[in-house]
Amino acid sequence: MSTSIAHLKPGQKGVIKEFPDDLLPIKLLELGCLPGNEVELVQIAPFKDPIYINVNGSHIAIRRSMALKIELDLIEDIQRV
C-alpha cells in the first residue's frame, strides 16, 4: 500500500520510495531519508505538526508539508494482527 509519512499513525512503519532528485533538502538525505530506508512514525505534535520520525536510526522532527512529500510503501504492522 502506498502512502506518505504524514499519513502514518504513531508506531506505523514504511519504506521510502524512489523520489525525484530535488524533492528534499540535502540535509534530510544525510540524516538518512533515502529511498529504501525504513521510517517509523514516533509521534505527531499537538497541532498535527511537526511530525517526529525515526528513519534509519535517526530520530528527527520534520514539518507536515515535508512529510507529505515523502512517499512510502507501508509495512503492514504484524504485531497488531
Binding site: D22, P25, E30, L34, V42, P50, H59, I60, A61
Partner: protein, 745 residues
C-alpha cells in the same frame, strides 16, 4: 622545540562534542566570534604527553560538509582553507555510539579531504545498556584511522585520545572512497580545468550553498569557464554521493557493529510520549517556564539587593574617604555605579543560563521546539523563541543572550528585535508609581483597576512583541532556509561540568562584551548629570542657600518637615506617657529642635542637588526637549528623567526624586511630591490620567535600556540592529504616547 598542533573538533550536533572539548581543554578556553559574523568561535589549549601542546578549535556542529547554514560554512571553510592560521593539522571527528552510521558520513567526507582524522566514539558508557558491541580494531582497519572510545560521562578514553593527537603524524591520509565514480566524465573535465586542485575539495566548493568567503568566490568565478552543471544536476550528484557513502558505511558496520534490538527500546519512547503529550506536554513546559521565571525574578533578587547595597556602600565609602573633587565623584558616582549596573545583572543571567543549559543538555529543548513550532511559526518565530520571550519578562539581557540556541538566523534576529517589548522587571517601579498616582483604587468585578492596568501593560508588551515579529517576518529579506529538520536527541542527565561552563562563559561574555558599552554610557550620563556650563550650576550651593534664607525651604519641604516633626513629637510624648523615656520638657524641646535641624539640613541638600541637576548638561537637555515632550503631557522635569532613565528604566523614579528634591529612598514621599506637582500651563496636576497613561505607554514601548542595546550589539555583531531597534521603538513609543495623551486630555 615543538610547534603547537592545530586541532579541529568536528562532529554532528548532540554527539557530546562540547563535553570532549571541555575535557581536553579544561578552563583554558576562550569564546569569541568569527570575524564579521555571529558564529561562535570556541578555542582552547590542551596539554599533551611529552610537553606538546595542541590548540583546539571546537567547530560548529554539522551533519556533513554539504553546508546549508553559516555555522556549517565556517567549519568547512576552515577545513578547506590551507592559508587560514587555524587550518587544522588534524581533525577529530566526534561521533556517538548510538548514531555511528550517520556520524560516519561526516567522517568519510573529512577523510576524503586528506586531512589526518581521528575518530572519537563518544558515549561508550551507553553501549551495554543499548546492547551495542563494536569491533574497534576491525573498524580502525576498515576506516584506515585511529579510534578513541570515549565516555565523557565516565571520563574514560580521553588519555588515549591525547596520545593519538600527539602521534597525529602517523595517521594515514588516504581517502576512504573515490567519490568521482558518481560522474566520471564531469570530474574528469573538472580536473582538466584545475589540474592543481584536489577534486573533492573542488566539488565541495562548487556545491557550497552559503557563499561568504573569498577563497570560494574566486574558485566559483573561475568555474564558469568550463562545462558547469545546473543546480538540480548538482543536487542529484550530491544525492548519489550520499547514497554511495552510506553504502560504504553500511558495508563496514555490518562487520563491526552489532546491536541487540531487544535491549534498544527504552525510556526514550516513554519520556517522549509524556513530554510531547498534547496536555501533559504543555503542562510540564508551563511549570518549567514558571520555575525559570520565578528564578530570574525572585531568587535573583537576594543577590541583586546585596550587589546593589554593596556598590552603594562602596560609593559612599569612596566619597567619605577621599578628598572631595571631580576624581572622587567620577569614581564614586560614575565608575562604581556603572560597574554596579553591570554586575547587578549577573544573578539573572546566571540563573537563566543554568536552566537553559539544563534544558539543552538533557535533550528537553528539542521537545519544546516540537511542541511550540506550530504555534510560533505564523509569527516568524521559532519554537525556541518562547524561552527568550518569557524570560524577557524578567530581563531582556539574558533573554537576548538566550536566542543563541535558535539556529535559524532570521528567526533569531526577529526574536532579538522583539524581546525588549516584553515587560521586564525594570519597568515595574515606573509602572507601580505612576499607576498608584493616576489610576483610581476602585474595583470592578472583584478586580482592582490598578491591578488590571498592570496586567494590561504586561499583555500590551506581549502583543507588541508578537505583532512586530509578524511585521518583521514580512519585511526582513534574509535568505534563510525555510525547511525545518530537527534532531530529537536522546535524553541525558546533564553533566554538571558542562552546565557550569555554560553559566560561567555566558556571564563572562556579558560582563566583558556588553559591560564595556554599559560602563561607557554610565560615565557619559554621570558626566552630563554632574557638570554644567552655566554660572547657576557652579554656584548652586550659594544660590540655594540665599534663596532659603530669603524665602525659606520650598513649600512642599516645609509642609513635609512640619508633618514629620508632629509625628516625631507625638511619638516622643507617647513614649513619655508610657514611661519608656523619662525626659524633661527642656530635653523634649531640644530633641525636637535637633530633629528639625537635621530635617532642614537634609532638605537643603536635596534642594541643592535638585538645582544642580536642573542646571547640569542633562538638565539643559531636558529643557531643550520640552517642546518635544509637551504634546505628550510632560514637562522638562519628566524630560530629564526620560533622558537619565535611558541608562535603565528604573532610574526614572530616582531622577524625579532628585529633581523634586526628596530623598530617593522614601517612596511614599516621592509619590506625594509627584501628586502635588502642577502643570504650569493648565494649572492642573501634572500627573493626571492622560499624562500618566501616556507615560505608561511610553515606557511600555520605548527602548529605554542601554544594557539591552549593548547586548544586542554584541549578539548581532553590528550597530545596525540596536540602532534600528532604538529608532523604531522610541518613535513608536512617542507616537503611541502622543495619541494617548491627546485623546485623553
Amino acid at each position: 622545540m615543538s610547534k603547537q598542533i592545530n586541532v579541529a573538533l568536528i562532529g554532528n550536533p548532540n554527539t557530546g562534542k562540547t563535553s570532549v572539548f571541555n575535557q581536553l581543554t579544561g578552563l583554558n578556553q576562550k569564546v569569541g566570534n568569527y570575524p564579521g559574523i555571529t558564529v561562535e568561535k570556541k578555542e582552547g589549549i590542551c596539554k599533551l604527553p611529552r610537553g606538546v601542546k595542541a590548540h583546539i578549535i571546537d567547530l560548529p556542529g554539522t551533519y556533513s560538509l554539504n553546508t546549508t547554514s553559516l555555522d556549517e560554512s565556517v567549519a568547512v571553510e576552515l577545513l578547506l582553507n590551507k592559508n587560514d592560521k587555524d587550518h587544522p593539522d588534524l581533525a577529530i571527528v566526534i561521533s556517538d555510539v548510538e548514531n555511528l552510521k550517520r556520524n560516519l558520513l561526516l567522517f568519510t567526507q573529512i577523510k576524503d579531504l586528506k586531512i589526518p582524522a581521528i575518530l572519537v566514539i563518544n558515549m561508550a558508557d551507553r553501549m551495554v545498556r543499548k546492547g551495542i558491541s563494536l569491533d574497534i580494531a576491525l573498524l580502525e582497519k576498515k576506516l584506515d584511522t585511529k579510534i578513541a572510545l570515549v565516555s565523557t560521562r565516565k571520563k574514560t578514553g580521553i588519555d588515549r585520545l591525547k596520545v593519538l593527537i600527539a602521534d597525529y603524524k602517523n595517521l594515514s591520509i588516504k581517502p576512504n572512497l573515490d567519490m568521482t565514480v558518481i560522474a566520471p566524465e564531469y570530474f574528469k573535465s573538472l580536473q582538466e580545468t584545475f589540474p592543481n586542485e584536489d577534486l573533492y575539495k573542488l566539488w565541495l566548493v562548487i556545491t557550497q550553498d552559503v557563499n561568504f568567503m573569498p577563497l570560494e568566490k574566486n574558485l566559483v568565478k573561475d568555474a564558469s569557464s568550463f562545462n558547469t552543471k545546473s543546480k538540480s544536476e548538482l543536487k542529484r550528484l550530491q544525492q548519489k554521493e550520499t547514497i554511495k557513502r552510506y553504502q560504504f558505511i553500511n558495508s563496514i558496520l555490518k562487520e563491526t557493529y552489532k546491536v541487540d534490538i531487544n535491549a534498544a527500546k527504552g525510556i526514550k519512547a516513554t519520556l517522549d510520549k509524556i513530554l510531547t503529550h498534547k496536555i501533559f506536554g504543555y503542562l510540564i513546559f508551563f511549570v518549567i517556564l514558571m520555575t525559570i521565571f520565578q528564578a530570574i525574578y525572585d531568587w535573583s533578587s537576594v543577590p541583586m539587593d546585596f550587589i546593589d547595597e554593596t556598590f552603594a556602600a562602596a560609593s559612599e565609602w569612596v566619597k567619605t574617604s577621599f578628598p572631595p573633587g571631580m576624581l572622587t565623584n567620577l569614581i564614586a558616582e560614575g565608575i562604581l555605579s556603572g560597574i554596579g549596573g553591570i554586575v547587578i545583572f549577573i544573578p539573572q543571567i546566571a540563573f537563566l543560563f543554568l536552566f537553559i543549559s539544563l534544558l539543552e543538555e538533557s535533550g528537553y529543548m528539542s521537545r519544546v521546539v516540537f511542541l511550540m513550532d506550530r504555534v510560533m511559526r505564523p509569527f516568524g518565530l521559532s519554537g525556541k523563541s518562547i524561552v527568550p520571550l518569557i524570560s524577557g519578562t524578567a530581563c531582556a539581557i539574558p533573554a537576548v543572550m538566550a536566542t543563541r540556541t535558535i539556529e535559524n538566523w532570521k528567526e533569531r534576529l526577529i526574536t532579538i528585535l522583539v524581546t525588549p517589548f516584553t515587560t521586564c522587571s525594570a519597568r515595574l517601579p515606573v509602572y507601580l508609581i505612576i499607576i498608584a498616582l493616576v489610576i483610581p483604587e476602585g474595583r470592578i468585578l472583584g478586580l482592582g483597576y490598578q491591578a488590571m492596568t498592570l496586567m494590561l501593560l504586561y499583555l500590551i508588551g506581549f502583543v507588541a512583541a508578537i505583532l512586530s515579529a509578524m511585521v518583521l517576518n514580512k519585511i526582513l529579506k534574509i535568505k534563510s532556509h525555510t525547511f525545518f529538520v530537527m534532531e530529537m536527541p536522546n535524553y541525558k542527565l546533564p553533566l554538571f561540568k558542562n552546565v557550569a561552563y555554560t553559566v560561567w562563559e555566558k556571564t563572562k561574555s556579558f560582563v566583558f562584551g556588553a559591560g564595556k558599552i554599559i560602563l561607557a554610557i554610565s560615565i557619559i550620563l554621570w558626566f552630563l548629570g554632574s557638570n554644567g556650563f552655566t554660572d547657576n550650576y557652579e554656584n548652586a550651593a550659594s544660590i540655594i542657600e540665599n534663596r532659603i534664607q530669603e524665602e525659606g525651604l520650598s513649600a512642599f519641604n516645609q509642609e513635609n518637615i512640619a508633618k514629620d516633626i508632629r509625628t516625631y513629637q507625638n511619638a516622643l510624648n507617647d513614649s513619655i506617657s508610657k514611661n519608656v523615656y523619662d525626659l524633661t520638657p527642656q530635653q523634649v524641646s531640644d530633641s525636637v529642635h535637633n530633629f528639625k535641624q537635621e530635617l532642614h539640613h537634609k532638605a537643603k541638600l536635596q534642594e541643592i542637588a535638585s538645582y544642580k541637576l536642573e542646571n547640569s548638561y542633562i538638565g539643559n537637555m531636558g529643557k531643550a526637549i520640552e517642546p518635544m515632550v509637551q504634546p505628550l503631557g510632560y514637562d522638562w522635569k519628566i524630560g530629564i528623567a526620560l533622558i537619565t532613565s535611558f541608562a535603565a528604566r528604573e532610574v526614572f523614579v530616582s531622577t524625579l526624586a532628585t529633581i523634586y528634591s526628596v530623598g530617593s529612598d522614601e517612596e511614599d514621599t516621592i509619590k506625594n511630591r509627584m501628586s502635588a506637582e502642577v502643570n504650569a500651563d493648565t494649572n492642573k496636576p501634572l500627573f493626571n490620567l492622560a499624562s500618566g497613561i501616556s507615560l505608561l505607554l511610553f515606557y511600555a514601548f520605548a527602548m529605554q535600556c542601554m544594557s539591552t542595546l549593548a547586548i544586542v550589539k554584541r549578539e548581532t555583531n553590528s550597530w545596525k540592529w540596536p540602532a534600528a531597534q532604538l529608532a523604531f521603538m522610541s518613535l513608536f513609543a512617542y507616537l503611541v504616547a502622543l495619541i494617548a495623551y491627546q485623546l485623553l486630555k
